[in-house]
């Protein structure tokens, strides 16, 4: 096993007949990868963990994954990924191997790059990300499917914060990119950006984010609209934009191992009939097919995280046979 830099991990799963072998499973602080023994043929499971169960300002995790022909990799976490508040110029961890983040840059980030061979599959089913008050978080996940015979189920979800402490969407910035490529072609690029507005919102200012304005200064030639006559717009908080829900989930689904699930979801969605209501539903979901029905994008929002978890367990239950009943039920119960 080769030595790797801070926060870097590699997973390489191979399949020989019914047996799966991790030909590589390496990681470095603060990342930790654990692979429990599983009995479902062709399936390998990895728990992706961080020391202390969270990430602090400036932490960076980079994970490279390769799933070989015929193998099915399930990636899980143990509990939500907690993103602590950003403290300018400080990081919680002393960094081994002399790696320090750029000064003043306290965005916590995770990046995942996955290659899936023909007939290979990835099931990325983590717990949600929870960004604490004033946290800044970026997540970039790229999935390269070698062909139409590769499959993927990619769950990405976020909660509003530490509800027990009264936190409801009070982090600073959350940016999450999920991009799916099939046979060298980009088929879906989902970018979710949840950012608190600066106060008070002044129309003559560009986004006040210093890291953005530094790297992308407004062109001097760009004339500013006549904002002097416009009154200030009162601040509209992230919480106001996302209420009444405190958990949002996106699931990208693609490939032959998911066909049954896609058919099931489509029929459930189309069977829904909406009548005018005065009360907002506790849970809402939507489904959009992509790639002529080879894949889909599922979005869910609910007032409570556990409602989403429970709903996902029911919506994706046909995957039980694909990843193994034990693993599936453990993830969604």
């Amino acid at each position: 096993m080769q030595r790797v830099g801070a926060g870097i991990g590699r997973i390489h799963l191979q399949c020989h007949g019914h047996d799966t072998v991790f030909s590589e499973l390496s990681y470095s602080y603060p990342l930790k990868l654990l692979s429990p023994r599983v009995t479902t043929p062709g399936v390998g499971v990895v728990y992706v963990l961080t020391y202390g169960g969270g990430l602090v300002g400036g932490d960076r995790v980079n994970l490279g994954v390769e799933v070989e022909e015929g193998a099915r990799l399930v990636m899980l976490t143990q509990g939500s990924t907690k993103v602590f508040k950003s403290r300018p110029g400080q990081t919680r961890f002393a960094r081994p191997q002399g790696i320090t983040p750029a000064q003043g840059d306290t965005i916590t980030s995770q990046s995942l790059d996955v290659t899936i061979s023909p007939n290979g599959a990835l099931f990325l089913l983590p717990d949600p990300v929870t960004c604490f008050r004033a946290a800044r978080y970026s997540q970039k996940q790229i999935f390269r499917l070698a062909s139409k015979s590769s499959s993927a189920v990619l769950l990405d979800w976020i909660t509003s914060g530490r509800i027990s402490l009264g936190e409801q969407w009070v982090f600073e910035r959350y940016w999450s990119l999920n991009e799916v490529w099939v046979d060298g072609k980009r088929v879906a690029r989902d970018v979710m950006l949840l950012e608190e507005e600066k106060e008070p919102l002044q129309s003559s200012l560009a986004d006040g984010d210093p890291s953005q304005t530094d790297s992308h200064p407004r062109s001097a030639a760009t004339p500013t609209p006549s904002t002097s006559q416009s009154p200030l717009v009162p601040k509209r908080t992230l919480a106001e934009r996302l209420t009444p829900y405190s958990c949002y989930a996106t699931v990208l689904i693609y490939g032959p191992l998911t066909h049954e699930t896609i058919r099931y979801l489509s029929s459930q969605f189309e069977a829904t009939t909406l009548f005018k209501a005065n009360k907002r539903p506790d849970l809402i979901w939507s489904l959009t097919l992509i790639c002529n029905g080879e894949g889909c994008i599922l979005r869910v929002a609910a007032k409570e995280t556990e409602q989403v978890r429970h709903w996902l367990g029911a919506a994706l239950h046909l995957l039980e046979g694909v990843v193994g009943v034990d693993i599936f039920r453990k993830t969604f119960s």
Binding site: M192, H216, R218, T222, V233, L274, A277
Partner: protein, 295 residues
């Protein structure tokens, strides 16, 4: 702003323009059906909830669409410098790349559908409505060489006809922000006006949908448009003015292995979906038992 630009702005702001926007509510109808325009407590009023929707919708649409308007505009202005046939191919190729990226980023079938139909309507508007009438061009004596303006206009007309054919053949999608960028560049509007007008028309479309839904009276709609919507559109247009897709203008035959978009620009300064609630509700549009709009 010169007189020509003012005249074009007046034309484009005409609510009678056949752009198909009158069948779009951009998620407002579904929003209402789900109870989001019904006050949940005493502090809320229906008007306030409607204004909140408009604000969130403008903000979300600006963040996802304006980068495409800006880059399609920039690509199209290339035609002005060179009116040869090969230049057209180059422009079409880049527009197609933008169109494809917008499609892969619009993961909402209702929004995709509405965007395509309004996009192609804009191209038709140009070829049928804004191109020079044959009668007018016949008036100049045949031996005189066409002016630079006339050459440019002819080149843009050719480009848009070609792009429209490409959409008809389903070689590309013809999404609204891309087509808007093309149209406004061809008409000689400044990029800043183009961005602002695009968001303004989005907002006005929402208001006219609200009037049709009987959520708002026609006077109240004008009042909102004049006083409340203006700072919102100005703010969002300014916030999103510098967002880009990172499209590299590829001169030669595209390298199959190379993505036409600069990853760093696309990630740090690119389009994003900023309102998941609106996205889910808009995607549920077709599930409504009765509906007036197409999106």
């Amino acid at each position: 702003m010169d007189f020509d630009e003012t005249y074009i702005l007046l034309l484009l702001s005409d609510s009678n323009l056949p752009t198909g926007s009158f069948v779009a509510s951009s998620g407002l109808e579904s929003y209402a059906t789900h109870g989001f325009l019904s006050p949940q407590d005493q502090n809320a009023s229906k008007d306030k909830l409607l204004l909140d929707f408009i604000r969130d919708s403008i903000s979300a649409y600006g963040h996802s669409a304006l980068p495409f308007v800006s880059d399609a505009y920039r690509v199209t202005t290339q035609v002005a410098g060179d009116t040869t046939h090969s230049q057209n191919d180059f422009v079409i190729r880049n527009l197609t790349a933008l169109d494809e990226l917008y499609d892969t980023m619009t993961l909402n079938h209702v929004a995709r559908r509405a965007s395509r139909s309004q996009g192609v309507a804009l191209l038709t508007l140009f070829t049928k409505g804004f191109s020079k009438p044959r009668e007018a061009s016949k008036q100049s004596p045949p031996e005189s060489t066409p002016s630079l303006e006339e050459q440019k206009h002819a080149a843009f007309t050719k480009l848009i006809e070609k792009f429209k054919t490409s959409v008809r053949r389903e070689d590309t999608h013809g999404h609204l922000p891309v087509c808007w960028g093309v149209l406004t560049a061809a008409l000689g509007l400044s990029l800043e006006r183009s961005q602002f007008l695009h968001l303004f028309l989005h907002a006005r479309g929402l208001l006219s949908a609200a009037v049709r839904m009987n959520t708002l009276g026609p006077y109240a709609a004008q009042q909102l448009l004049l006083h409340s919507i203006r700072p919102l559109v100005t703010t969002e247009a300014s916030k999103c003015a510098d967002l880009r897709t990172g499209l590299r203008l590829v001169e030669d035959e595209p390298d199959q292995g190379l993505d036409p978009f600069d990853e760093d620009v696309l990630d740090t300064n690119g389009p994003a979906m900023t309102w998941p609630l609106g996205e889910i509700l808009a995607s549920r549009h077709d599930l409504q038992h009765s509906r007036v709009f197409n999106s």
